[in-house]
């Protein structure tokens, strides 16, 4: 499935390039941007950021965060997600969230966040986010987007897996004050939504889905664990009689996705999935440490990664070997390490690039080191 994603900005003109070079001579060793950021962090040419403008509670533990993105925001397609960097307790944390509106007339974007138990970022955003706060953004990404031409679709969503689907549906069926608007471009779509949640009140966007169901625009099949029992995917055929004619989009935790995948493969049905919460990093003692050149070593939980890598013949940056000089710091793309001085765990999900001191960090699970 392909979708037209808005093009990025054209390259700079030679004159502008020359002016920039001159400005750099005036600000060195910093860049002109370092000064401009003090006054206009959302300007064109700046690193992509956004400013939180509204925080709207959705349920007791979910909220929609409305963000004004920087001038270089390239737009998005309903169903895509955005990676967002938020400072929690002073530490920058990156997470991916679905964009819950189609492109809006006011140029703002929104994400809907459900506070997951123990979730640093989700809890911070739902309970502590304040308008005016700057956040860091990446351009929207994701292949989990609505097909351009109307067709028969089935959405299987669980928990906060509803968010990319809501983005698609809101774009397709905008809601005005006097009800849902029927747009010509929505005519060809025939949509069924099977939404699963632990119980009814915790189901975010429920009223939105119900409105669409009542207006006859989608067919909603809501399944609550406490009422209907945990969904068994082999029942999908009963819940959705014309399952075989539909392309399925599934979004939710890994367990559900694996089950739907097995179910659909068996029957040869088309399926697109998006796992929403990043895979849990499995932590333990020691693990396989992979490096950029393809080398991979088995490191135990008591040996610094620096030592283990050097023993395996790798050339590593190093310094004091006691954790004070920061000469050995390397980015960990994903994985988990334990600080041998304190026992503290540091984990990185893919894309996080957490910098670690290799001389005092031992593997606490599989690690991917950018070196």
């Amino acid at each position: 499935m392909t979708t037209d994603v808005p093009a990025t900005r054209p390259p700079r003109s030679p004159l502008r390039h020359r002016v920039t070079r001159l400005a750099e001579k005036v600000t060195t060793p910093l860049l002109p941007a370092d000064y401009l950021d003090l006054f206009h962090p959302l300007r064109s040419g700046a690193d992509l950021r956004g400013r939180i403008e509204e925080v709207v509670p959705e349920t007791a533990d979910a909220a929609t965060i409305v963000i004004r993105p920087g001038a270089d925001w390239a737009g998005h397609v309903p169903g895509q997600y955005v990676r967002i960097g938020v400072d929690v307790d002073g530490v920058r944390q990156w997470r991916a969230y679905s964009l819950t509106h189609g492109p809006r007339a006011d140029g703002r974007i929104s994400i809907t966040v459900k506070a997951v138990p123990g979730g640093k970022v989700s809890n911070h955003l739902v309970r502590w986010a304040q308008s005016g706060t700057l956040v860091h953004l990446e351009q929207a990404a994701g292949e989990f987007v609505l097909p351009a031409k109307g067709t028969k679709l089935l959405f299987v969503t669980a928990g906060s897996g509803i968010t990319p689907v809501i983005g698609m549906l809101r774009n397709l069926f905008p809601v005005a004050d006097d009800g849902v608007v029927r747009m010509p471009r929505s005519a060809g779509y025939d949509i069924t939504v099977v939404h699963v949640a632990p119980s009814e009140p915790a189901s975010i966007f429920l009223s939105n889905l119900r409105d669409l169901d009542r207006a006859g625009l989608v067919r909603l099949v809501a399944r609550y664990d406490d009422v209907h029992g945990v969904l068994d995917v082999s029942d999908l055929g009963d819940l959705v009689p014309d399952l075989e004619e539909r392309t399925t989009f599934a979004c939710g935790p890994a367990g559900l996705l694996d089950a739907v995948q097995a179910h659909h493969e068996e029957r040869g049905l088309p399926l697109l999935t998006e796992q929403f919460r990043v895979a849990t990093v499995v932590t333990g003692e020691g693990g396989t440490v992979r490096f950029r050149n393809g080398t991979s070593i088995e490191a135990d939980g008591g040996t610094p990664i620096l030592t283990a890598a050097e023993d395996a013949g790798l050339l590593m940056p190093s310094g004091c070997r006691m954790g004070i000089c920061y000469g050995c710091v390397l980015p960990m793309r994903s994985g988990a390490v334990r600080d041998l001085r304190t026992g503290d765990l540091t984990t990185a999900a893919p894309g996080d690039d957490v910098k670690i001191q290799t001389c005092v960090s031992a593997a606490a699970g599989a690690c991917d080191i950018d070196h």
Binding site: L22, K25, V26, T27, T28, P29, L30, D34, Y35, L38, D87, D89, G90, V91, R92, Q93, G319, C320, M322, G323, I324, C325, Y326, G327, V329, R341, T342, V354, K355, Q357
Partner: protein
């Protein structure tokens, strides 16, 4: 001072190795308590400092565009000197130590920071973080002891060149940023032999330094003066003055860290197989603090808490002040001397040592004898003639 190991009285003689390890654990606990509470307040602090510093620099440079007017020259120069000091001390030095790496902000990180100084951050981090902070005050290992151009310890061998070291020290103070660059480049050692001079590694590093210096000089002595138009010369002298003031100030503060009387030095052999506790002990005895106002501490980049900084070089600088009483209590508990004094006192103490050690150790006692020796034969000749 003489290396601790050769002294008649060893200030650590009363401590057993168990005491030293317990001291290490108590210091680890102080470190852990800061790490556990590191958070939003600290992040807000460093961001505010960086923001204020940049605005001060911008404002001062804007005022200097009309530096042809004397009040503008004075105001702009003062502001720029302040901004440069803050940039080097509270921001640059500390960021490059990795004190703010925990924030995971790529713009305030030891691996990406570049400072307003002649020495490229990469080279400075190697010679400072790795060599000086690991081998603090170990004679023959820590080049910060006299920076390779001075003798600041009795156990450094005297050569006649040191006679002029008060002059070297003054010149180094005036051009300190270039002194640091030459020092980080290990210029003395690397220029000594043809082999070292022509090694590709040295050449690459030398090119890196020259590139950095070219950028710095172009900015302060060409780009900003040109922007000032008719104030060209005035802005040039203003920038030179701001750099001079920054150099003199940072040099003075840094002299106070390890040179004042009462600070111990260590024999090379003494660090073989050193434990964590022993390393901590060496940092405690090898550093000296400066007492003063909050503003003074800030302008030194909190290096006035040199003891705390050397114990925990990667803790956020705003926390040194807070843990200082706990650290000092440990000095008392373990019967150690916490060396500290006012800025003028510590600067004076360091300078006194620079003067004293410009002469050989035994100069005071042997000079007298030597003078007598020179005089006596003459007298004998006189007597012979008279006889």
């Amino acid at each position: 001072m003489t290396v601790m190991q050769k002294k008649d009285h060893d200030p650590t003689a009363h401590l057993t190795s168990e005491d030293v390890e317990r001291l290490g654990e108590e210091l680890d606990a102080i470190r852990a308590s800061v790490v556990a509470t590191r958070g939003e307040r600290d992040a807000a602090y460093i961001r505010r400092v960086i923001s204020v510093q940049r605005k001060l620099e911008l404002g001062s440079r804007a005022v200097l565009l009309v530096s042809i007017f004397p009040p503008a020259w004075i105001l702009g120069t003062a502001g720029l000197a302040l901004a440069k000091i803050i940039e080097n001390m509270e921001v640059g030095h500390n960021v490059m130590h990795g004190q703010w790496d925990w924030m995971r902000d790529p713009k305030i990180h030891s691996t990406t920071w570049e400072w307003d100084n002649a020495s490229p951050s990469e080279q400075w981090k190697h010679s400072h973080n790795e060599l000086h902070h690991t081998y603090t005050n170990v004679v023959g290992k820590d080049n910060d002891l006299g920076y390779g151009i001075m003798r600041v310890d009795e156990d450094q061998r005297w050569v006649p060149l040191y006679l002029a070291q008060p002059l070297w020290n003054f010149l180094n103070a005036c051009f300190f940023e270039y002194g640091i660059a030459a020092y980080d480049l290990e210029l003395g050692k690397n220029l000594a032999t043809r082999k070292r001079r022509s090694s590709p590694e040295f050449k690459a590093r030398a090119r890196q330094v020259l590139r950095k210096i070219r950028g710095q000089v172009t900015k302060d002595y060409l780009a900003h003066p040109i922007l000032s138009g008719p104030s060209f010369l005035h802005t040039l002298t203003a920038n030179a003055t701001a750099n001079l003031v920054r150099n003199l100030w940072t040099h003075s503060v840094i002299m106070c860290g390890h040179f004042p009387e009462g600070v111990e030095t260590f024999e090379r052999r003494s660090i073989n197989g050193e434990t964590r506790g022993e390393w901590y002990l060496r940092q405690m005895l090898g550093s000296a603090n400066i007492t003063g106002t909050r503003a003074m501490h800030f302008m030194t980049g909190n290096l006035s808490f040199q003891v705390e900084h050397h114990l925990f070089p990667d803790l956020p600088s705003n926390r040194y002040q807070e843990i200082a009483p706990q650290v000092r209590a440990l000095f008392e508990k373990y019967g150690l001397t916490y060396v500290t004094g006012s800025l003028p006192h510590q600067v004076g103490s360091a300078w006194k040592k620079v003067f004293r050690l410009s002469l050989p150790n035994d100069f005071g006692s042997t000079a007298h004898a030597k003078v007598l020796e020179l005089v006596r034969p003459a007298r004998r000749e006189d007597e012979a003639q008279a006889a």
